[in-house]
Amino acid sequence: MSKIKDKSESTKFSIVRHGFWKYPILMIVLLITVIVMGIWVGSPNWPRATIKNSAQMEPGGTIWAVSQELDGASVSYTDPYAYGMKNPAQRLVIGPLESAKWFLSQKQRQALSTYINAPMTKRIEWAKNYDKAIQKTFPVSKSDYTPVPKMSNISMLRGNFGPVPVIADTILKLAQNGYLETYFQGISPGNTFEYTNIWLYDRPYMLNTAIRNGLTDDQWGMIKERGFAPGPWYLIIPAVAHVLLPAGSTGPGFIFWNSLFAIFALVLFPLIPGLRNIPKYIGLYKLIYAVDPKKSKRSEFSMKGDHYDDNIRKEHKKKKNL
């Protein structure tokens, strides 16, 4: 560009001191807003789910889950790196019972030793029978909610269950009186919530609560807080990938779509000639500029005391003197 063209009226843009006086005012306004919202509106805070509470609210769900933790159908059997673990039957059922042996009743101890002394196939057969029998106590459900069997129905069941019903009932009692949660915290001191969370996730109560509050994937749960607006609305980009795009709800798919978006935003959009000029064609920048840089005359916006003005004044002086 030649100097002459730069000097032309159309490419001139004037210079002002940035209005930093705005910042202290904005800061105080923002500070007050945050304090007022914090005190007045608060923030989402929902008491933790506990094993005790879950077992008291839905004893039937607890019993049913024990049968599945024994027959291999529970969620905790998934990949240990997902929400599962190694050997849920031992960790979540047999281990706790053995640790509590000294205060169990004769009948409960008997059930435990019968179970432990039986061959593996037998143990699984009993648990499977019990699991199937429990599932017959409620109709097949078409809703998203996992059905919760009623205790009165469960206690009526008869069949080739071996010691499994007594074992499940013992776990229920240990859960309801708070022993189980303390036990789980004790065996995993490095991550006290590990087994508690896995145990809770094996039961319908937690997931049903999530469904009730619209927190599952198909309900755009990622950008919601439990009953608290606005929630993390800004997670909309990963949420689109997670909910709408093919395989977005799997780990690799989620990472793929988000990386694709990142590459687009980071590299393609700002660097590719056609793309990077889009803002120029749209022309919305006109709404953003305080003054039209192409039209403004420097003298209107520049201020006394700036170098810039000093230069202009010098120039004027020179011209006058000539």
């Binding site: 000097k7 001191r17 940035h18 509106v41 991550n191 439990r226 990963p238 990077r276 920048y285």
Partner: protein
């Protein structure tokens, strides 16, 4: 010198001449902006801007930065007092909520900041590097948010821990992170990510200062 050269020559720190400024904008504004020229800020703020940047659209990065400071301050208080305090005492809940609303403000200003950067094409030329640094901070901040939810210690933390463990933290490498492990999660949320963010944002703002506001489209 051309106009534009002149403009870029202004990116040196400017001394603050209070008396002159008082004449120009009045005593109150001059006093309010004097902070920008104090020694710790001088190199950051003490400069002039092109007149087209005199709109609130150009304050959004600064407001994002302010919200980030609020997040850091409330975050330090929360860390010092611990989960039982922020979950169960009125003062703790209030500070936790201020942390929450600072995050809302942070992302609100951040998103409009990005819109203004896009609409004014401010990512072009040498500013692309700074644009990339900004976007990286945005992605990191979203991750920081996830660990914030996990560190909260309430029902949501439990549910999100289980759910994200299934989807994300079962993948190779990522499985080093166990979202139900409070010690790990709090370390990531209050140390690893915030320090990285602090550095990135520091570099971002310094580069804005060095390169100046992008020329008009």
């Amino acid at each position: 010198m051309t106009d534009q050269d002149d403009y870029f020559a202004h990116h040196k720190g400017e001394p603050f001449r209070f008396k002159e400024r008082k004449k120009e904008v009045g005593w109150l504004k001059a006093a309010l902006e004097s902070f920008a020229y104090l020694p710790p800020f001088n190199r950051m703020f003490g400069k002039v801007e092109p007149s087209y940047a005199e709109s609130y659209w150009y304050c959004l990065g600064g407001l994002t930065f302010l919200s980030f400071l609020f997040l850091v301050i409330t975050g330090i208080i929360l860390t010092l007092f611990g989960p039982p305090w922020w979950l169960h005492t009125p003062t703790g809940v209030a500070v936790k909520s201020m942390h929450y609303w600072s995050a809302q403000a942070f992302f609100f200003f951040l998103f409009i900041h990005v819109v203004r950067v896009w609409l004014t094409g401010a990512y072009r030329g040498e500013r692309w590097v700074n644009y990339a640094i900004g976007l990286t901070s945005l992605f990191l901040a979203l991750g920081e948010n996830l660990f914030g939810v996990l560190a909260r210690g309430d029902w949501e933390s439990q549910f999100v821990a289980m759910h994200s463990n299934y989807m994300l933290f079962g993948l190779p490498l990522l499985r080093l992170i166990t979202p139900s492990n409070f010690t790990q999660v709090i370390l990531i949320h209050v140390a690893f990510i915030p320090f990285t963010l602090l550095v990135l944002i520091g570099v971002h703002v310094t580069l804005v200062k060095l390169q100046g506001i992008a020329r008009p489209l």
